[in-house]
């Protein structure tokens, strides 16, 4: 049973790594065509803020 669990985790992580690697390669190809392209955010730490001036939200309150 333990070997099946380890195999499941391994296969899942391997497929995820493969998908991430493909996305990374495609991102490099997009950058070769359009160097000014701003990439896709992958997680919440590198999200793009659309707020131009942070004081605007404060003034509305």
């Amino acid at each position: 049973m333990n070997s099946w669990v380890a195999l499941l985790v391994l296969v899942s992580v391997a497929v995820s790594l493969f998908g991430y690697w493909r996305a990374f390669r495609l991102h490099r190809r997009i950058l070769a065509i359009e160097p000014a392209f701003r990439g896709l955010v992958t997680q919440f730490l590198d999200r793009v803020t659309r707020r131009k001036d942070p004081s605007v939200r404060k003034a509305r309150r």
Binding site: S12, R22, L40, V41
Partner: protein, 133 residues
């Protein structure tokens, strides 16, 4: 493996899928920047988004298995197992890859200057983005 373990694994999988789907929707359709103008680059952009979704969703069985295993080893209640799976799904595979990359870089002393976690981990796919407020 008992049937209740499998049901718990399935519940963890769906819990992780719910939050992972919410995060992917927010990232891909909520805060995503504009697509590239060039038609060839636009096709690549669509393929890149698709592969990113494959990558995140295929990590969910590993997350569910990890949470069930940790829950069994630590004798957690069922809710704790599902909550851990949901947290892992919400953080996502890219989060852990970026965290690993940051740790390795810091250990090797490659980027001593960029100590902020907003800029350094986003290099592979995020590119140059503004730091979070």
């Amino acid at each position: 493996m008992k049937l209740e373990d499998f049901i718990l694994w399935l519940l963890s999988l769906f819990g992780g899928l719910a939050l992972c789907g919410a995060r992917l929707g927010w990232l891909l359709f909520g805060v995503a920047p504009e697509p590239p103008q060039d038609p060839a680059a636009f096709g690549l952009w669509q393929r890149k988004r698709r592969w990113l979704v494959f990558s995140e969703i295929s990590a969910l069985p590993a997350f569910a298995t990890i949470s069930v295993t940790v829950g069994k080893l630590r004798a957690w209640p069922v809710e704790g197992v599902i909550l851990l799976s949901m947290v892992l799904g919400a953080l996502g595979f890219a989060f852990f890859l970026d965290a690993l990359q940051t740790l390795v870089r810091r250990r090797m002393g490659l980027d001593g200057a960029s100590s902020s976690p907003q800029v350094a981990p986003s290099a592979p796919i995020g590119g140059s983005v503004d730091p979070a407020p």
